[in-house]
C-alpha cells in the first residue's frame, strides 16, 4: 500500500541537511523528519462520517519543500492540522501514523502534543488578518510563542522577538513590536506570523496557503522569504497551495490530493512537466495563463466529491474524461504506486499509458 522506496527520496540539499541542530531525527537514521503513513482522519457528524483524509502517506526530509495541492475540500488542511495535533480528539477519529522527528503523533496524549506543538513543528495560516489576535500586540504574541517553549524572562523573549521581526524583514522591529496587527499591512502581518512560527526554531514549518490572501507582489516577497528562511534554518517545509505557479517556484516535491487521498506524488519537475494523473492534468489546464489573457482557462468539470459518500472505484471517475478508456475505473480503487521506470513518482490511476495520453491529448491544450 505505502511505497517507502518511493517516498524516502535522497536529499538534494545535503549542505542544509548537515546543518541540522540537535535533531531528534538523529535517533531515526534513514527516516525523514516527517513521515505520514496510511493516515485516516474522519469526523463523525450528524450527516454521517466525513472522511476528510484516507490512506495518506508521504514523507518529508529536512531541507526539502513538499507542496500539497488540490481543490478546496481535498483534505490539505485537515491532514496538516493532524500533524500539528490540532484536531479536537472529542470530534475527530485518526488512524495510521504520523511521526515528527521520530515521535508518533497519532494517539499522543494532549499534554505531550502541546509541548511539541510550535516547538518541533509550527504552522502559518492563510489569512494573516484573522490569524493574529486583534487585541494583543504583535510582540506580545511572538513573545508568548517563545515563552511557551523556553523558560526565559520577558526581556530575553522580547529581544528574541525583535530579532525575529528583523529577520523576516520588518523595518524598525523594536518599535513595531508594540504595534497591534491592524497597524501592519497584509504582507507585514504574514511576515509577523512567520516570525512567530519560526521563533522556536522548528524543524518543520507547515504553511497553509500563506500567500492566498495577499497581493501578487507581496505574495512573491513572502515566497522568497520562506525559501530564504528555509535555507537558513534547514527546516522541512510543507507548503499547501492551490496555485501551481507557486508550486513551480517553491517546491522540491509535490503531492496532489483529491477527495482526501493522495493521487499523484513526485518531484516538482516531473509533476509539473509531465503529470500522469488525469486530475493533475485538469489542475494544469485550469491555471490561468500567467502572461496572456485568461482566455484559456478550463476549470475541471463537475464538483469535488462528497466526503460523506465517495464515488466507487476511483473517486475521480465521475469527472474524468478518460474513465471509459480503461476497465475498473468505477469499481477498483487504484493504488498510489510507481507506474513508470521512475521510482520517485507515483500515481493513483488505472491508465496504462498516461505519458502518451498527456503528450497527445493534454499538452496541445495547455496554454
Amino acid at each position: 500500500m505505502t511505497e517507502p522506496h518511493l517516498l524516502s527520496t535522497p536529499d538534494r540539499r545535503p549542505d542544509t541537511v548537515s546543518r541540522t541542530r540537535r535533531v531528534a531525527g538523529d535517533r531515526t537514521e534513514g527516516q525523514s523528519y516527517l513521515e505520514v503513513k496510511d493516515l485516516t482522519v474522519t469526523f463523525p457528524t450528524a450527516d454521517g462520517l466525513v472522511r476528510a483524509v484516507q490512506g495518506l502517506s508521504y514523507s518529508l526530509p529536512l531541507g526539502r519543500t513538499l507542496a500539497v495541492v488540490g481543490e478546496s475540500g481535498s483534505g490539505k488542511s485537515v491532514s496538516s492540522m493532524a500533524i500539528m495535533g490540532l484536531h479536537d480528539p472529542r470530534s475527530t477519529r485518526m488512524t495510521g501514523s504520523i511521526t515528527v522527528g521520530g515521535e508518533e503523533i497519532v494517539g499522543m496524549p494532549p499534554a505531550e502534543l502541546r509541548k511539541r506543538r510550535g516547538a518541533n513543528a509550527a504552522m502559518i495560516f492563510q489569512d494573516p488578518q484573522s490569524s493574529l489576535h486583534p487585541y494583543f500586540t504583535v510582540g506580545d504574541q511572538i513573545i508568548e510563542a517563545y515563552r511557551a517553549h523556553h523558560r526565559v524572562s520577558k526581556r530575553v523573549a522580547r529581544d528574541r522577538a525583535v530579532d525575529m521581526l528583523g529577520r523576516v524583514g520588518i523595518p524598525n522591529p523594536r518599535r513595531r513590536l508594540d504595534d497591534y496587527p491592524h497597524q501592519f499591512s497584509g504582507g507585514m502581518r504574514q511576515r509577523a506570523m512567520i516570525a512567530m512560527a519560526l521563533v522556536n526554531d522548528p524543524k518543520l514549518l507547515i504553511a497553509d496557503e500563506p500567500t492566498t490572501a495577499l497581493d501578487v507582489t507581496v505574495q512573491a516577497q513572502i515566497l522568497d522569504l520562506i525559501m530564504e528562511l528555509q535555507q537558513d534554518f534547514g527546516s522541512a517545509v510543507l507548503f499547501i497551495t492551490h496555485d501551481l505557479g507557486v508550486v513551480a517556484e517553491i517546491a522540491d516535491d509535490v503531492l496532489v490530493m483529491y477527495g482526501g487521498r493522495g493521487v499523484e506524488y513526485g518531484r516538482a519537475e516531473s509533476i509539473l512537466g509531465q503529470p500522469l494523473h488525469p486530475y493533475t492534468w485538469g489542475l494544469l489546464e485550469s491555471i490561468p495563463a500567467v502572461s496572456g489573457e485568461p482566455a484559456r482557462l478550463h476549470p475541471i468539470p463537475g464538483t469535488p466529491p462528497s466526503l460523506l459518500a465517495l464515488p466507487s472505484g476511483c473517486s475521480f471517475h465521475p469527472r474524468c474524461e478518460f474513465a471509459g478508456r480503461v476497465p475498473g475505473c468505477t469499481v477498483d480503487l487504484p493504488e498510489l504506486v510507481s507506474r513508470t521506470a521512475d521510482t520517485t513518482r507515483a500515481s493513483r490511476c488505472h491508465l496504462t499509458d498516461p505519458a502518451g495520453i498527456f503528450e497527445t491529448d493534454i499538452l496541445p491544450r495547455l496554454p
Binding site: R114, F125, S131, H133, P134, Y135, T137, A148, M193, M196
Partner: protein, 325 residues
C-alpha cells in the same frame, strides 16, 4: 483620546440638559393641578397657594427652568408657610410631601441602589461568564445542555419568583437591610446579600447564554487556532485569547443592563425592604411629588448617559482597533 472623551462629556451634558428641560415642560406644563393633588381633600386656599409657591408654579415656565438650573448650580431658597427653607447646591428642589430637600433624599437612596446593582452585577458577571465559558467549551455535551436549560428556566420564571425562592431557601443569609458601607463594610454586605443573590442569579442566566454564544463564536476564530498552534496550554487559549475577545460584546450589553438596573431596581428594592431610588420615585409617583419625580428623571438620564460614555471608553480600552481621534 482625551479630546474624544471631552467631546463626549460635552455632548453628554447637553443630552442631560435637554432631558431636563423637556421633562420640565412635560411635568409642569401638563394640564394637571399638582398643587391641588398634593394639597389633598381638605385643602385651604392658603395651603394651596403655599404649595404652588413652593413649586414655583405661579411663575412662567421659562423662569421655573431658570430657577431650577440656578438651584442646581448655586442653591436657592424656598418659602413655605412664611418660613424660608434653604436648599443648598446642587438643589434638586424641595419635596413638600416629605418635607425634605430632594438632593438629600436622592443622596440617601442612590447609594442603596448603586450598592444593590453593582453587587448583583459582580455576582452575575462572575457566575454568568464562567458558566458560559464552561458551556461553550463543552458544547453539545449534557453539561452544556443542562446549563443552557437551567438558564432558560431561570429566565422563564418571573423575577419575583427568583426573589421569593431566595428569601425562602437562603434563610442562612443575614436579614435584608441597608447599612452604609463606610460604617461597617461587613454589615453593609450582609444586609445586601439576599438582594445580590436574587439579582445575580436572575441575570446570571442571561449572561451564561450571552457569554456562551460569544465564546463559541470566538473559539471558532482563526486566531484561536493560531494560539493553539503555539503550544500554550488550553486554559490559556480559552481564558487569555478566547475570553479576552469574547468579553467585548458582553461589555456593551452589560453597560445597557447596568443603566436599566440602576433606574429600575424597584422590584429588588421593594422586596428586600431597601429604600433605594426605585422605591423613592415610586412613592413620588403615587403622591405626585413632582420635584422628586423630576430628580428621578434627571438621575436616570445622567446614569444612561454616563453608562454609554463608560461603555464607549471601555471599548477603546478593550479593542485596540477602536482608537478614536
Amino acid at each position: 483620546m482625551l479630546i474624544y472623551i471631552l467631546r463626549r462629556i460635552a455632548s453628554a451634558v447637553s443630552v442631560v440638559i435637554v432631558t431636563l428641560v423637556a421633562s420640565f415642560g412635560l411635568f409642569f406644563v401638563a394640564p394637571t393641578d399638582p398643587a391641588g393633588t398634593i394639597c389633598g381633600q381638605r385643602c385651604t386656599p392658603e395651603r394651596y397657594a403655599d404649595i404652588s409657591a413652593s413649586l414655583n408654579l405661579d411663575e412662567p415656565v421659562v423662569q421655573q427652568v431658570g430657577d431650577y438650573l440656578k438651584g442646581l448650580a448655586v442653591g436657592r431658597t424656598y418659602h413655605s408657610g412664611g418660613a424660608a427653607i434653604d436648599c443648598d447646591a446642587p438643589c434638586l428642589g424641595y419635596s413638600y410631601t416629605l418635607g425634605q430637600p430632594v438632593t438629600k433624599l436622592i443622596g440617601q437612596a442612590l447609594p442603596i441602589t448603586v450598592s444593590i446593582v453593582l453587587g448583583g452585577a459582580v455576582v452575575y458577571l462572575i457566575i454568568g461568564i464562567l458558566a458560559g465559558v464552561v458551556a461553550a467549551r463543552r458544547r453539545g455535551t449534557y453539561l452544556d445542555r443542562l446549563m443552557v436549560g437551567t438558564s432558560l428556566g431561570i429566565n422563564a420564571v418571573p423575577y419575583f419568583v427568583v426573589a421569593l425562592l431566595v428569601s425562602l431557601y437562603a434563610t442562612f443569609l443575614p436579614h435584608s437591610a441597608y447599612h452604609p458601607l463606610l460604617e461597617n463594610p461587613l454589615t453593609w454586605a450582609g444586609g445586601l446579600l439576599a438582594a445580590w443573590l436574587t439579582l445575580g442569579l436572575a441575570n446570571a442566566a442571561s449572561y451564561t447564554r450571552y457569554s456562551r454564544a460569544s465564546m463559541i463564536e470566538t473559539l471558532g476564530e482563526d486566531y484561536i487556532r493560531t494560539a493553539r498552534a503555539k503550544g500554550i496550554s488550553e486554559r490559556r487559549v480559552v481564558y487569555r485569547h478566547g475570553l479576552r475577545a469574547a468579553i467585548t460584546p458582553i461589555a456593551t450589553i452589560f453597560g445597557v443592563d447596568l443603566a436599566i438596573q440602576l433606574t429600575g431596581a424597584i422590584f429588588t428594592e421593594a422586596m428586600f425592604g431597601l429604600p433605594g431610588l426605585g422605591v423613592l420615585t415610586l412613592r413620588a409617583f403615587n403622591q405626585y411629588d413632582l420635584p422628586v419625580l423630576m430628580a428621578g428623571v434627571l438621575v436616570g438620564s445622567v446614569v444612561l448617559v454616563v453608562m454609554n460614555l463608560l461603555v464607549d471608553i471601555l471599548y477603546t480600552i478593550l479593542d485596540p482597533r477602536v482608537r478614536l481621534g
